[in-house]
């Protein structure tokens, strides 16, 4: 018992050391009250109750006047009955009761409320009235996430307000990707998808109706949280007058610290009644988001898969100092596809110098092509890949590597993944294209990804990931001549 509390103490000290943002308690509370907790498993409140009771590494208080005690766990009538300090409250009560409950939280001294409850401004006039009442009560006396949101997922401390049962939504392992999602349902689907692919999305958040905490603040928090290496944002549209400008400023600051990948979907309604002629008509809403993202220095994704393809590389790879790519392949066809995809994104596949090619030719079989792409053909072996990597990647002729390994050929074994992982020592970005269906391929891919080498199932996806690294390198100013 004593040992346990010591562990907990050292944990909270650690989080205090790492994080200094006002949103600290949103993601890293020491204690959480669930208002509207319930033992009914298939309800929203029930899933959250179970999540926190089983996983959260901190104190949990259950509040619901209907219960006294269930399975040996105490229920409080009101948060005001809890004796200890409560950092954060997760609110899952019917909309009309939300204002009263939040008022109690303020009186109790709770610092952050995650309001899961829907039925506020998103449902029409009645709800909007309720939300305004809530806004009047809040007035900077408590920080609010939501209402009408799915809340927070923190894989590091088990804080999980996603009300989707575990058998329906997998939970990703702790990892360097943080997700900010405009949509709760999309956030849930992304986490499930990421969990299945073993992508470490350590932190995720959805802000719902955005009564208080907004994208800009969440970005600022993630920028400071040292566990996060790349931020992925799913955006539909902004809401309040003037907040676009503010978000642009914050994004600019954040990208000087870590990369942001944004997928912008949908369009907000153009302001009604605004007289828009000529220039205004051309500046349709999407036309404003696009340059805004560019101006901010964020990396724009075309869809969610694309966003995570790039995030994977940004989270694991060093930044390139230029745009020249070494391609090593065991398939000429895949090599050509890669050249196309890289060229379309402004990356180069330079022909290697004659002297370097001479060195390669001495060791490689006569049919191998040594210009770049280096085509090892169907007679490729692990050792050939290793030889080319070790010979060419450290030279000043290339800035990064795209390795195509179709594992169906007999000369390649799982050992190739070790050689590729070892090449990380050259401190240049490496991505791998692998394609196939057998278990051996899956093992090869898993081994690479577990050791920080991102794998893609198509050349254009790998090319896009390298492009993202190069774009971010330019933004960070590490590219030669920039």
């Amino acid at each position: 018992m004593e040992a346990q509390s010591q562990v907990q103490q050292s944990k909270s000290i650690e989080s205090q050391l790492v994080i200094t943002s006002p949103l600290d308690l949103l993601f890293n509370p020491r204690s959480v009250a669930i208002i509207g907790a319930t033992p009914r498993e298939n309800s929203v409140g029930g899933v959250i109750t179970k999540n926190l009771l089983t996983k959260f590494k901190g104190k949990v208080y259950l509040v619901n006047p209907k219960y006294d005690e269930v399975n040996g766990v105490k229920y409080y009538k009101s948060i005001l009955d809890v004796q200890d300090e409560v950092d954060s409250a997760v609110i899952v009560v019917p909309a009309p009761t939300v204002p009263k409950v939040v008022d109690e939280c303020i009186r109790k001294g709770v610092k952050v409320a995650i309001i899961i409850s829907g039925g506020l401004s998103e449902v029409g006039e009645e709800g909007a009235k309720l939300e305004n009442e809530l806004r009047r009560i809040v007035q900077n006396r408590i920080r609010v996430l939501g209402p009408n949101c799915i809340g927070v997922y923190n894989a590091f401390n088990g804080l999980d307000t996603f009300f989707l049962p575990e058998d329906r939504m997998g939970r990703p392992k702790p990892g360097p990707v943080a997700l900010i999602s405009n949509s709760g349902a999309v956030a849930g689907a992304i986490l499930d998808w990421a969990a299945r692919r073993n992508i470490g999305v350590g932190l995720a958040v959805n802000y719902g109706n955005k009564l208080d905490i907004n994208e800009a603040e969440l970005l600022e928090y993630f920028a400071r949280d040292s566990r996060v290496r790349v931020i992925v944002m799913y955006m539909e549209g902004l809401k309040y007058p003037g907040e676009g400008r503010k978000l642009l400023d914050v994004m600019r600051e954040v990208v000087s610290i870590k990369p942001i990948v944004v997928y912008k979907a949908g369009r907000t309604k153009a302001a009604s009644g605004a007289v828009r002629s000529h220039t205004a008509a051309l500046a349709g809403n999407y036309e404003i988001y696009k340059p805004m993202l560019r101006q901010a220095g964020v990396i724009e994704a075309d869809n969610l898969t694309d966003a995570f393809d790039m995030a994977k590389a940004l989270a694991t790879q060093p930044l390139p100092r230029g745009n020249r790519v070494l391609i090593i392949t065991d398939s000429g066809g895949m090599g050509i596809q890669s050249v196309d995809a890289l060229d379309m994104r402004g990356l180069q596949v330079p022909e290697l110098s004659e002297s370097l090619q001479e060195i390669l030719r001495k060791q490689l079989p006569p049919l191998a092509v040594t210009r770049n792409p280096i085509d090892l053909t169907g007679s490729a072996t692990d050792a050939m890949y290793k030889f080319v990597l070790d010979t060419v990647l450290p030279t000043s002729y290339v800035d990064m590597a795209l390795i195509i390994a179709l594992m169906q050929i007999p000369g390649l074994t799982i050992n190739l993944s070790n050689y590729i992982v070892e090449a990380r020592r050259f401190n240049k970005p490496i991505v791998v294209v692998s394609f196939g269906g057998n278990e051996y391929v899956a093992k090869f891919e898993n081994h690479l990804e577990e050791n920080g080498i991102p794998v893609y199932h198509a050349p254009h996806r790998a090319a896009k990931a390298l492009w993202a690294l190069y774009e971010y390198a330019k933004i960070k100013g590490v590219v030669r001549g920039w």
């Binding site: 302001a271 605004a274 828009r276 000529h278 205004a280 404003i288």
Partner: protein, 233 residues
């Protein structure tokens, strides 16, 4: 922020657009190059003032009621020595025919800018992002091909350079065929000054510098026409 007197005056008079000479005055305050100009009331004044401005000139009707001057025959370009009197007369006739109820405050007499690459620098005010600046090539390039780039105010020099190079027609800046290389930096300057003008004048809800004529490298660029729509933002 104190409202610019030009904007304040227009709002006071219940106008939602700046008059031609007011627009040019505003641009001048922000060092955006404009050709020499003067507001004149009639032919006689025009003939007197033109001696300072010098030929060739452009003549434009000034009216709080007309937004697209050329649609009603309110613009005559490239007027030389002995054509000024008849040009004044022709505009009066055109307006009487095509916009009989428009109030006419006078004529804008303006030195012609030499031929160059015609571009457009425009702005609109978005409720969420504030002022957004657009850049494109003049004529069909903007309207038909939508070859336009946008940035949110404030626009830095670097942003401005990027937005110029982003349009597909950018090649025309680099001396396509026999055309000279254009003064790109002069456009960068205009865009950044325009950005500052917008930042300091939140009442501007829409603006067009159309055309901005870009001369060959080292010779600058000029806003040859300007339109500002204001509101009580």
């Amino acid at each position: 922020m104190v409202m610019n007197p030009i904007v304040a005056k227009a709002l006071e008079e219940g106008r939602y657009k700046l008059l031609e000479h007011e627009s040019f005055e505003l641009l001048r305050q922000y060092n955006i190059p404009v050709p020499d100009f003067a507001l004149v009331q009639d032919v006689n004044e025009a003939l007197k003032v033109v001696k300072d401005i010098g030929y060739p000139v452009a003549l434009k009707v000034v009216s709080p009621d007309i937004i697209h001057k050329s649609d009603v025959g309110g613009v005559i370009l490239n007027i030389n020595n002995d054509e000024l009197r008849s040009a004044c007369e022709r505009i009066r006739i055109n307006i009487r025919e095509k916009a009989p109820y428009a109030r006419v405050s006078g004529f804008l007499l303006q030195r012609m800018v030499p031929e160059g690459l015609e571009t457009i620098v425009g702005a609109t005010k978005d409720p969420i992002f504030g002022h957004v600046i657009a850049f494109g090539l003049g004529g069909v390039m903007v309207e038909v091909l939508q070859d336009v780039s946008f940035r949110i105010v404030p626009v830095t020099e670097e942003d401005a350079r990027a937005m110029i190079r982003e349009i597909k027609g950018y090649r025309l800046f680099n001396g396509y065929r026999n055309m000279p290389v254009r003064d790109e930096e002069a456009v960068v300057y205009i865009i950044t000054r325009f950005s500052e003008l917008l930042s300091e004048n939140p009442n501007i809800v829409e603006a067009d510098l159309n055309p901005v004529i870009v001369l060959e490298r080292g010779k600058g660029a000029y806003a040859a026409d300007a339109r500002f729509i204001i509101g009580t933002a």
